[in-house]
């Protein structure tokens, strides 16, 4: 199926990176710097956001989704600073977001929920039914589209979350722990969906599973204590590790090597 070409698709891009953060600082609660002076540029592709618990991954994703406002530095989306609030509506039309804690309406069916989100995303009414059908098919829920949300398993709810995030064909797709609750077969399917989405848009996937990143992501962003530790391909991450580092795979060893190198003094537990 081909999508109709809109003015947006043929318009020249006036930015080099979909996401551009310069010295980005986000404080959460009482002066806790969850993101601390981050410089990061992300373009088209699937980017895996890795880091230990409490590294600030969720805060970073919520800031990119415009839930939180930066307290310092600047964040540009599609070349526009998020500080310019008059532009928020336009930016948000081009963002897809799956929060870590995905809240939904239990009495809605899958199709109703995705339709409702499509309406909230300012999609033209005549495009909504087709886009909803396509999103639901892409996450493999076409046969459950008329089921109520409360009747779905945890993995299916997660897939509805992914469907609502991609329904507006976003240019920036932010997924916070999307693979939680998916069984191995669904995880494989999801990885190929991620690769497909990363060909046309900027996808940022936060995960704690190193193997998700290896299989689905074009590059890795390693994040710890609110700072960028490493950005590169998964091969480059694997090359950072040596055999004496803890870990079961080259990637895990590279991950441990970089985190211990960043002054991370926590124990493994």
């Amino acid at each position: 199926m081909t999508l109709p070409t809109g003015a947006l698709d043929t318009a020249p891009r006036m930015y080099t990176h979909e996401i551009h953060a310069a010295g980005l600082t986000v404080e959460v609660g009482r002066r806790h710097r969850a993101v601390d002076g981050l410089d990061l540029s992300l373009g088209i592709g699937t980017h895996g956001l890795l880091g230990p618990n409490g590294a600030g991954k969720t805060t970073l994703i919520r800031t990119l989704a415009t839930v939180l406002r930066p307290t310092g530095g600047d964040l540009g989306l599609f070349g526009h600073s998020v500080r310019d609030r008059g532009h928020h509506r336009e930016l948000r039309r081009r963002i897809g977001y799956l929060p870590q804690e995905f809240g939904y309406y239990k009495r809605f069916t899958v199709r109703e929920f995705v339709t409702y989100m499509a309406w909230l995303k300012d999609m033209p009414a005549r495009d909504i039914p087709g886009a909803v059908q396509r999103a639901v098919e892409r996450v493999g829920l076409a046969d459950r589209a008329e089921s109520r949300m409360k009747a779905l398993s945890g993995g299916m709810v997660r897939r509805v979350g992914i469907a609502q995030a991609i329904v507006n064909d976003p240019s920036v797709l932010l997924l916070d722990e999307p693979t939680v609750g998916l069984d191995p077969a669904q995880r494989l399917q999801f990885r190929s969906l991620l690769q497909e989405l990363g060909r046309e848009s900027c996808v940022l996937v936060s995960t704690h599973l190193v193997e998700d990143v290896a299989a689905a992501c074009s590059d890795v962003v390693l994040f710890d204590q609110g700072r960028l530790v490493f950005q590169g391909t998964s091969e480059e991450l694997a090359a950072e590790g040596s055999v004496d580092q803890p870990g079961d795979s080259p990637l895990e060893r590279g991950y441990s090597a970089l985190l211990s190198g960043s002054g991370h003094e926590k124990s493994m537990w």
């Binding site: 989704a65 415009t66 839930v67 939180l68 406002r69 609030r85 008059g86 928020h88 509506r89 336009e90 948000r92 039309r93 963002i95 977001y97 929060p99 804690e101 995905f102 809240g103 939904y104 309406y105 239990k106 009495r107 809605f108 199709r111 109703e112 339709t115 409702y116 989100m117 309406w119 909230l120 995303k121 300012d122 039914p129 909803v132 059908q133 098919e137 076409a142 046969d143 589209a145 008329e146 609502q164």
Partner: protein, 267 residues
């Protein structure tokens, strides 16, 4: 777009793959075809005579058909979903309508507070409860998602607030009719309080704004009216005051319309 259409010969060569066309001419034909419906029609006619292209199209179609048959089409005639209200607002609206009914019963049946109709005292403040429900983190399970959609902020807040008013106004019209209270006497304060809640909500958050205005209403109008038996701020000659306050509130909302997209209005 040039007004010059490619000749039939040129389109014929384009259909056969364009191998004998210079690259610049090929591009020009293609660029023109993208813009010109008339020439795409001519192209469709020309294609029908070329077996290589028709065979290719047939092959693609027959390859796709099994996949198309497998996909489940959207069933027609589905339940309409309530787009303009939070799905969680239902119980709140029911409660507010219930309070109105009780007010009417108090006035009509019990004959209570004979010189101050209860409907007049509660009707203006009731939409506040609905506005609070319209934009609340605790009542909307999908708030994290809905609060960063393009509709979030003022457009969604206004749509949900208007939904509240659309439900409440007919109820209060009926209540006013049953108890003999003039429409303007409750409608104007009602709209003023609602608009003030939205305006103040842009500064301190909608939840706090509705709570503050509800308290103010109770302290300044409800309590004195019940204690003294005379509603101070609801006399007919005070209507210009309410109209002025309404105008100020609407102006504040319009001036500050961009501030509603941030989470400061969500507390």
């Amino acid at each position: 777009m040039s007004a010059k259409h490619p000749t039939d010969g040129l389109i014929g060569r384009y259909v056969r793959g364009g191998a004998d066309l210079p690259a610049d001419e090929l591009w020009a034909v293609e660029a023109h075809l993208e813009q010109c419906t008339h020439c795409r029609g001519r192209l469709a006619v020309a294609v029908a005579d070329v077996p290589e292209v028709t065979d290719l199209l047939t092959a693609v179609r027959s390859d796709l058909e099994p996949a198309l048959a497998r996909s489940v089409p959207a069933p027609p005639g589905r339940r309409r979903i309530p787009l303009r209200a939070t799905p969680a607002m239902g119980p709140w609206l029911a409660m507010v309508v219930g309070v109105s009914v009780v007010a009417v019963l108090l006035d009509r049946v019990a004959g209570w507070a004979a010189n101050t109709p209860v409907v007049l005292l509660v009707a203006p403040a009731l939409p506040l409860a609905g506005v609070a429900a319209a934009w609340s983190r605790s009542l909307d399970p999908a708030f994290e998602l809905t609060s960063v959609t393009p509709q979030a902020g003022l457009p969604l807040l206004l749509k949900r607030t208007l939904t509240v008013l659309a439900v409440l106004l007919p109820v209060h019209l009926l209540a006013g009719f049953l108890t003999g209270v003039a429409v303007a006497q409750w409608l104007l304060p009602s709209l003023t309080l609602t608009a003030s809640a939205v305006a103040l909500g842009g500064v301190v958050g909608v939840g706090r704004a509705t709570a503050a205005l509800g308290t103010l209403w109770t302290a300044a109008v409800l309590a004195p009216a019940l204690a003294l038996g005379r509603p101070f701020l609801l006399q007919a000659d005070q209507l210009p005051f309410w109209a002025g306050a309404l105008a100020v509130a609407v102006a504040v909302v319009l001036i500050r319309r961009h501030t509603y997209t941030t989470s400061a209005t969500l507390r």
